[in-house]
Symmetry: none
Subunit: 214 residues, 4 copies
DNA sequence: GATGAATGAGCTTTCATTCAT
DNA sequence: AATGAATGAAAGCTCATTCAT
C-alpha cells in the first residue's frame, strides 16, 4: 500500500479529471498535477494514457462484482437479489466523492477493440468485458429465475428490463453527480435514489400474494 | 435546400463520425472526407469544430420540441400526453439511420459554458439549454398534472420519475443504436422499445378506475 | 477612370489595410470588404496578393519621381533642390489620409527577388527598384554637386548624408502617421516637419556667405 | 547558463529568422530548425510565437537601458551624454552579428495592445513600453537640459530632435545590416556611423564658446 | 523511483486562390 | 465584370510519450 501509493494517487486523480473533462481532454499534465506527481511517473506505472482509463474502469467492475458476490449470498429470492444488485451499484457510487465520479467515467465510450495494438491492453479490455458480462449475466439470470418462479412479470424480455433498470439507475446516479456542482441542484438525495429503484423493481414484481396490476 | 446541401452533408457526416468516435476523436478531416467536401468548407459554414457539435445538438432539440408541439395537441389526458412525448422521442430517433446516431451524440457531454469564449457559441449553448429545458418542463408539468388528477402516483417526485423514464428510454434507444453494428445484436426491436416505454409508464398510473397497487 | 474605379478602390483599401495590419496580416477578405467589392475581384485585377502590394509601392515611387521632375525645374542651386526633394516627399505623404498610410506601407520589407516566381512580378519589382534608384541617384547627385560647389559639407559621404536626411524624414513622417490615432499624440505638426527638415539640411550647408563651423 | 541554453538558442534563431523574413513570415518550424531543436520546444519556453518576438524585443531594450545606466555616469555635460546614448546604441548593435539583426527586428511594428488576449503577454508589452519610454525620456531630458544650459539649439522641439537623431541612427545602422549581405555593399563602416552621429549632434550644439551657426 | 526537458505526430484553423455561375 | 462557394497547402499549437539525469 505504501509501495503503490503514488499509483493510487494517479488513479484517483485520473478518475476526477476524466470525469470532469472527458478522456481526451483529460491531459496527463493535469492528472499528474492533481495527483501531485511528475508527468513522467504516469508512464512508469501505466503503459499509456489509455491504460490509465482502462485501469480505472476495470477497477470499478471488479469492485462491483466483488461486492455483489458478498451481498448476494445474503438473499435467496430473485427479487430481493435483483434489488440487492442495484443497491450495491448505488452504494459503490455514493460511497464517497471519488466514487461518484466513476459514474461519469463509465459513460466514456470504450475504444474499439481493434484500434488497440498493444497485447496487454487487449487483455485488459477483455477483462473489462468479462467483468461487465458477469454483471449483465447476473442480472439477466435473476430476472429469468424470477419469471420462472412467477414473481417477475414474464411479459418483459429480461434484457429489456435490465436496460430499463440500468438506465433509470444510471440516470438517477448521474443526477447525484451533477449535484456535486452548485449549479445543478436536483432536489433529491441518495435515499430517494435507493427508494426509487426499489419501487421501480416492485412495479415489475408480485412478491406479495397478489397486488394490483402485475 | 440546394443552397445548403453541402452544409447539410457536413452536419450529416458530423453526426455519424461524432457518434462513432466521440466528439473529441472526431477530426475535421474525417468529417470532411465523409461528407465528400474539402476540410476548409467546414470552417466556411461553421465557426469551429465545436460549432458543428452544437449545431447538431440544437437541431435535434428543435426537431423534438417541434414534433412534440404537433403531437401533443392530439391528446388530452396527462398520461396519454406523457406517453406521446416518449413516442416522439423514439420515432425521431428511429426515423432513419442518421437519426439513430443522434442518440449517441446527445450522450456527449456539453462543454462547460465558461470555457466557450465566442459570443455566438455562447448564444448557441443558451439556445440548446432553452430547448432542453422546454422538454424537461413539458414532462415535469405533465407528471404534476397527472398527480393532481390522481392518475399518476403522487409519491414519486416528478423529476425522479422523469429521470427514470428518460434513463430507460435512452438506454433502450442506445440498445437500438448498438444493433446497427454486427457485434451487438440485442434481441429486441423498435416495437419492443415502444411497448416497453408504454408499459413502464403504465406502472406509474391508474388510468382505469381500479386503483390497484399505486 | 470609370473603367478602373473598382481597381482603384481595391488599391486604396489595400494601402490602409496593409498599413494597419502589415502585409501578411492584411487579408484579401478585409481588403475586399473595405473596398466594397467581392473577394474574387482582387484576382481579376491583380495576379495575386503580392501584386497588390507591389502595385501600391510602385505607384508611390512613380508619383514621387513624377512630382520631383516637375518641382526640381523650379530651382537651380543644389541645396534648394535638395530641400525640394524632401518637401515633395512630405507633401505627397501629407496630402491626405490615404497618403499618410503609404509611409507605413513602404516600411514593409520588399520580398526577396528570388522568391518571386512570376515573370510579370519580377518585372514589377525591377520597376520599383528602378524608381527607387532614380530618387536615390537624384539625392546623391545633388549632394555631390553641392559639395563640388562648396556649399555642402564635403566631409560627409553623400550616401551617409542621404541616410541621415532620409531617416530623419521618415521618422518625422511616421510620427505624423501615429498622430492619426488617438493614443499617439506627438506634439508637432506637418509645418514643424517641413521646417525641421529644412533646418536639418541647412546644418550641412553654407549657402550664405560663410557662417560658423561648416 | 547551461540550463537555459536551449531557450537562448531559440531566441538567437528567432532574431535571425525574424530579421530575415519578418515576424509574420518567420515560421516556428524554421526558427526551431535554425535553433536545432524540436518545434514543440518553442512552446515549452514561450507562450506562443508572439511571446518569442516580445521576448526578443524586451531583451534588447533592457540591455540598452542597462548599458546606458553604466555609460552615462561617465559624462556630465548633456551633449556628451546625448552622444553617449547613441554610441551605446551603435555599440550594442555592432557588437556581433546577432546584434545587428536586432536593428531589423525592432522595425517590426508592435502589435496593437488590445489584440493581445493573454495577461502575461499584456504585461510583457507593458514592460517593453516602459523600457522604451525610459530611453525616450532619457533623450528628451538630456536635450532639455542642454537647451536650458544654452548648449543645444532651443528652437528645436526635443521630441523633434529626438526623432531626427533616432531616424538617422536607425537608418545608418540599417545600412550596416544590409552590408551583411553580398548585394547591398554600402560604402561606409561602423566608424563612419559613429562619427556621423557625433557630427550630426554637433550640428545642434554650441559646445564651444563660439555660437556659430546655431 | 522520480523528474521534467525534449520530441514530433497530429490536430484545428486560416486564407490566398480558383472557378462555375 | 463580378460573385462567393469551394479548395487545400501551410501555419501555429497541443500533448502523449521518451529518456537522460
Amino acid at each position: 500500500m505504501k509501495k503503490d501509493s503514488k499509483r493510487e494517487l494517479i488513479l484517483d486523480a485520473a478518475i476526477k479529471v476524466i470525469a470532469e473533462k472527458g478522456f481526451q481532454y483529460a491531459t496527463t499534465v493535469e492528472i499528474a498535477k492533481r495527483a501531485g506527481v511528475a508527468k513522467g511517473l504516469i508512464h512508469f506505472y501505466f503503459e499509456n494514457k489509455l491504460d490509465v482509463l482502462l485501469s480505472v474502469i476495470l477497477l470499478f467492475w471488479q469492485e462491483i462484482n466483488s461486492a455483489n458476490r458478498k451481498r448476494l449470498t445474503q438473499y435467496t429470492s430473485p427479487v430481493d437479489r435483483l434489488k440487492a444488485v442495484f443497491v450495491t451499484f448505488q452504494e459503490l457510487l455514493l460511497r464517497d466523492e471519488r466514487s461518484l465520479y466513476w459514474g461519469k467515467v463509465l459513460n466514456e465510450g470504450l475504444p474499439q477493440l481493434h484500434s488497440i495494438k498493444s497485447d496487454s491492453l487487449q487483455k485488459k479490455m477483455q477483462a473489462i468485458k468479462r467483468e461487465n458480462k458477469k454483471l449483465t449475466n447476473t442480472i439477466d439470470t435473476l430476472i429469468k429465475e424470477g419469471q420462472e418462479q412467477g414473481v417477475i412479470n414474464a411479459a418483459v424480455k429480461p434484457q429489456v428490463l435490465r436496460l430499463i433498470l440500468g438506465g433509470a439507475s444510471q440516470m438517477l446516479t448521474y443526477g447525484m453527480y451533477l449535484d456535486l456542482f452548485p449549479k445543478g441542484k436536483i432536489g433529491f438525495n441518495a435515499d430517494d435514489v435507493r427508494e426509487s429503484m426499489d419501487m421501480l423493481i416492485d412495479k415489475f414484481t408480485t412478491t406479495l400474494s397478489v397486488k394490483g396490476e402485475i
